[in-house]
């Protein structure tokens, strides 16, 4: 059925070159008045000299370019996106609308506070929801994503230690081996030393392992709950107590909060700080890699150290405290007040669900994952499949690898079946991990179809169809891409000299 077309298109799949290959410096999709010229120029002779060589397109060409590109993407709106640890749930369109209200979108962060009372009220409302849901007394809204929230939490811990005069002595942070890469990276960025808690066979962090590492040089622990294996940490409360007893703090990575929202309050587990990825649990769109938002809830012990800005209410009027002088705030996370555009979406989401709907979110997320676990367990190895999972199903390739098919091959075969695969090879503690997170916004029939596909693929493995997998994907917009080649001699931008070569490749 396949042949080379003259156009390079294949039916509806449109070939599309780089804008640098088809655009030109005189093309433009905006109409602006011609500048009147240099009469009033105040540039002090520092005007740009050389040509910029930025290609421009008329609006029709621009729209077409990006619409064509978009169709080369998979997305939640096309189907199940079971990427574990990423909580790819439906993004309600009301949220998009609310974020675009003129009264939010066309507001400058430094406007006089008399003109931004609604924005401050919204931030307070969001804070209220986050604090009530987590059972925590404070929240820093400004972190710009999960990793930034981790940084915020660890800096709050550092400031608390400093206030106690122990910042210099307590520098060790315990991080389970199964942690997401951002955890150790953050701990180091905050000036701590990472001490790994080795993985255990049951995928949990054991109290004993933590206790064994406690000492007067320990600043705290960074744990993920539910953890990256998709399991609730049964000993979490006791671990928290032990840490506190030893004079440390408990940072919880809240990336997996979706599994427990409305069911369990992190504040009841002894947590001192936890970031919440609004782009996961509270469904602000992932946008192909961001933006996110990582508000970080804080315990009473850490609350005083929350970074500026703070919202201060005087009677009915809200003001901003923007400087840390005279406060215990540890500093500032970014130039302004955080990801307002995500706050509007997240609050819209929360209010839409309400306390009842959010609880149902957690229950359905967990139910969907356990349903997939039940259907897939007979066909794949589920390393911790004996007990219920939370919102994620963790499988590995140990049952298929001996037959020549690895996690990556299974993933690429899913592309042909019209799915985005699971998260591959994470967490690192499970070899050939396949981490499947369906989320609560999937109907049962989509889960069933996905399970059918997974099972059919397992049967192909059993039938010895190794080449089938190695050749995959065959139906996706591209065949398997060569990562090694990309990294070996990096080509990270279009360059005029590479022009003709690139053009040839595109054709």
């Amino acid at each position: 059925m396949s042949y080379e077309t003259t156009s390079g298109n294949k039916g509806l799949q449109q070939a599309e070159a780089l804008i640098f290959e088809t655009g030109h410096a005189t093309g433009t999709g905006v109409d602006l008045p011609e500048p009147k010229g240099g009469a009033y120029e105040k540039l002090g002779g520092l005007g740009r000299k050389a040509a910029l060589e930025l290609p421009g397109f008329s609006e029709p060409e621009t729209v077409r370019h990006f619409v064509r590109l978009s169709q080369k993407n998979y997305a939640i709106d096309l189907g199940l996106f079971p990427l574990g640890s990423c909580t790819m749930k439906h993004n309600p369109r009301l949220n998009e609308r609310a974020a675009r209200f003129e009264g939010f979108a066309d507001l400058h962060p430094l406007q006089p506070t008399s003109t931004i009372q609604g924005a401050l009220e919204l931030m307070d409302e969001l804070a209220h929801w986050l604090m009530e849901l987590t059972g925590m007394p404070a929240v820093a809204l400004s972190p710009k994503a999960g990793a930034h929230g981790e940084f915020c939490g660890m800096l709050a811990i550092k400031a608390a230690l400093e206030a106690r005069g122990e910042a210099e002595t307590r520098r060790r942070v315990l991080v389970p081996e199964s942690a997401h890469g951002t955890n150790p990276a953050t701990a180091v960025a905050a000036g701590f030393i990472v001490d790994e808690i080795p993985a255990r066979d049951d995928g949990r962090v054991h109290l004993d392992d933590v206790v064994a590492k406690l000492g007067p040089d320990v600043a705290g622990v960074m744990m993920t709950n539910p953890n990256t294996c998709g399991l609730f940490e049964p000993e979490i409360k006791r671990i928290a107590d032990a840490i506190h007893e030893a004079g440390g703090y408990f940072y919880c990575d809240g990336a997996n909060y979706n599994a427990i929202v409305g069911k369990v309050r992190p504040g009841d587990l002894g947590i001192d700080a936890m970031h919440i990825n609004l782009h996961k649990t509270f469904s602000t769109p992932h946008g192909g890699g961001g933006p996110g938002a990582g508000p970080t809830v804080l315990s009473a012990a850490l609350a005083p150290f929350a970074p500026v800005p703070h919202i201060v209410k005087r009677g009915d009027v809200r003001e901003l405290r923007e400087h840390s002088d005279g406060t215990q705030a540890f500093g500032r996370m970014c130039a302004f007040h955080g990801q307002m555009g995500m706050f509007t979406r997240a609050l819209t989401y929360m209010m839409s669900h309400g306390s009842d709907g959010l609880r149902q979110v957690a229950e359905d997320a967990v139910l969907n994952a356990n349903y997939l676990l039940a259907r897939l367990k007979p066909h794949f190895n589920a390393p911790f499949g004996e007990r219920p999972c939370m919102h994620e199903v963790l499988l590995d390739d140990s049952s298929i690898k001996p037959k020549g098919v690895e996690t990556i091959d299974m993933a690429k075969a899913l592309l042909d079946e019209g799915y985005h695969p699971f998260t591959t090879y994470f967490p690192l503690v499970v070899h050939g991990a396949m981490l499947i997170e369906p989320t609560e916004t999937e109907p049962k029939r989509e889960l069933d179809r996905f399970a059918d596909v997974m099972i059919a693929l397992a049967e192909r493995v059993n039938a010895g169809e190794v080449e089938f997998f190695k050749q995959a994907p065959k139906l996706a917009p591209m065949r398997r891409l060569d990562d090694t080649r990309a990294a070996r001699s990096p080509k990270l931008r279009w360059k005029p000299e590479a022009n003709s070569a690139a053009k040839q490749a595109a054709e």
Partner: protein
């Protein structure tokens, strides 16, 4: 609940496949007592009508920039974003995709990233760009940390023209790492003070042009001084449209050029989300923070794009990563790329020229107000003026008149000793009438 597709019947059936009687059996690992029996004390689910109404009510308690005579910049700028930009970024395939971890079904995002990197590097006259940072301030902080890694030195010198919030953001991040921040006194024209301050312990000198007072600076001397001392020069910025008209940091030989990209493609959004631009010289590539897309071939030999050089990143390198950043500014970066594609060289140059023209008109109009002194002599679209009264009070009074005049330097940095300095800017959005309204209102307020 309109977002939850499972029916009660589905739930029962699924539980029975799982072999559980009640959903709470799946929560067995939660410590006794921590599993909530009751609903949390928050409002229950509401329909679209009610939620829409609530959000609208909040929105209408604000006064949007567009409903005023608006002259505020200082890190975020009010520009016109063509309607097609917002239309395109709302395409499901962009909006609801994740980071392109499976490149075979993410070429849309990846090619757009590659185009972004190419546009940014071209605009800033640098060799390599990453795939975006959170915003300008965090990009600047990352640059400081990167410079320390590259030079293995611990002192970061900030010129007196860098946005105070950028300095505070970098200070917060750097001091945690044990780096020392030296922030030179705020100065309208900050060039001279910098060049003198650079010892052999300096990792980087960070300069901003146009600076927070709007001043544009020839960075050649600073570059010479920095490189002479074995330090990097980091050039940051808050207004990227400037480089349609003036030379960017890259043209002065900066080692890292980074800053805020919001002006292109992105609304004010009360401060976020924005998009941090981050570019480096190729030789520092392996120390660069953040994701990057690169060209490669597929199994059929066709050109395609992938995320690459991930051994720098936290998910591979963990505690040795160049940064902890993971989620970045994807969609804002896409908006930037789309808007920049619409502009092209021609549109960008026109836009920049128009901004400059409006700012010169503004400077002229304000300079004619009795008691007002225009402090910035070389500028793009922003200037600082000295008022005969504390600026904060003037700003507040003018706001009540429907004029958002800018920001008082005392708000950005209360300790700068510049209480009478107002930072004010004009863009293509300001009409002649706006400027006249502003000047008249200011005259009245100052006369009171």
């Amino acid at each position: 609940m309109r977002y939850l597709p499972l029916t009660e019947a589905d739930r029962q059936q699924m539980l029975s496949v799982i072999g559980a009687k009640h959903i709470d059996e799946l929560f067995v690992d939660v410590p006794k007592g921590a599993l909530l029996k009751d609903l949390i004390d928050l409002p229950k689910a509401q329909g679209e009508i009610e939620v829409h109404r609530h959000m609208q009510r909040l929105a209408e308690k604000n006064i949007p920039a567009g409903r005023t005579a608006f002259f505020l910049g200082a890190g975020a700028y009010r520009h016109h974003v063509p309607a097609s930009v917002d239309h395109l970024i709302q395409r499901s395939e962009f909006l609801t995709a994740y980071t392109p971890y499976q490149p075979e079904i993410a070429q849309g995002t990846l090619q757009a990233l590659y185009e972004f990197q190419s546009q940014v590097a071209t605009l800033l006259d640098m060799e390599v760009s990453n795939a975006s940072m959170y915003d300008g301030s965090t990009a600047c902080a990352e640059a400081a940390m990167m410079a320390a890694r590259v030079t293995k030195r611990k002192k970061i010198v900030f010129s007196g023209g860098v946005h105070p919030h950028y300095i505070e953001t970098a200070r917060t991040a750097c001091e945690a790492l044990g780096l020392e921040i030296v922030a030179l006194p705020a100065a309208i024209d900050d060039e001279a003070a910098v060049t003198g301050k650079l010892g052999a312990d300096v990792a980087a000198v960070i300069v901003q042009s146009p600076n927070v007072f709007g001043t544009i600076t020839d960075l050649s001397k600073i570059r010479e001084a920095a490189h002479g001392a074995g330090a990097l020069m980091v050039a940051t910025f808050t207004e990227c449209t400037a480089f349609g008209l003036i030379e960017p940091g890259g043209s002065y030989g900066a080692d890292i050029v980074c800053g805020e990209g919001q002006s292109i493609g992105n609304a004010l959004n009360f401060g976020g989300p924005y998009v941090g631009l981050f570019t480096v010289k190729e030789k520092y590539l392996r120390q660069m923070p953040g994701r990057v897309a690169g060209e490669t071939l597929d199994a059929d030999g066709k050109r395609g794009f992938v995320l690459t050089l991930s051994t720098r990143e936290q998910h591979i390198r963990r505690e040795k990563a160049t940064s902890n950043i993971c989620t970045n500014s994807g969609l804002c970066q896409l908006a930037w790329t789309i808007h920049m594609t619409l502009l092209g060289e021609k549109g960008l140059r026109q836009l920049a020229a128009l901004n400059h023209e409006k700012a010169t008109q503004l400077a002229f109009a304000l300079g004619a107000v009795p008691g007002v002194e225009v402090l910035t002599t070389r500028f793009y679209n922003e200037i600082a003026v000295r008022l005969p009264k504390p600026a904060q009070g003037v700003v507040d009074t003018l706001a009540a008149e429907g004029v958002i005049a800018g920001v008082a330097m005392s708000r950005l940095d209360p300790k700068a000793g510049m209480d009478d300095v107002l930072i004010t800017c004009a863009t293509e959005m300001n009409t002649h009438d706006d400027i006249a309204t502003y000047a008249d209102a200011l005259k009245k307020v100052l006369a009171q």
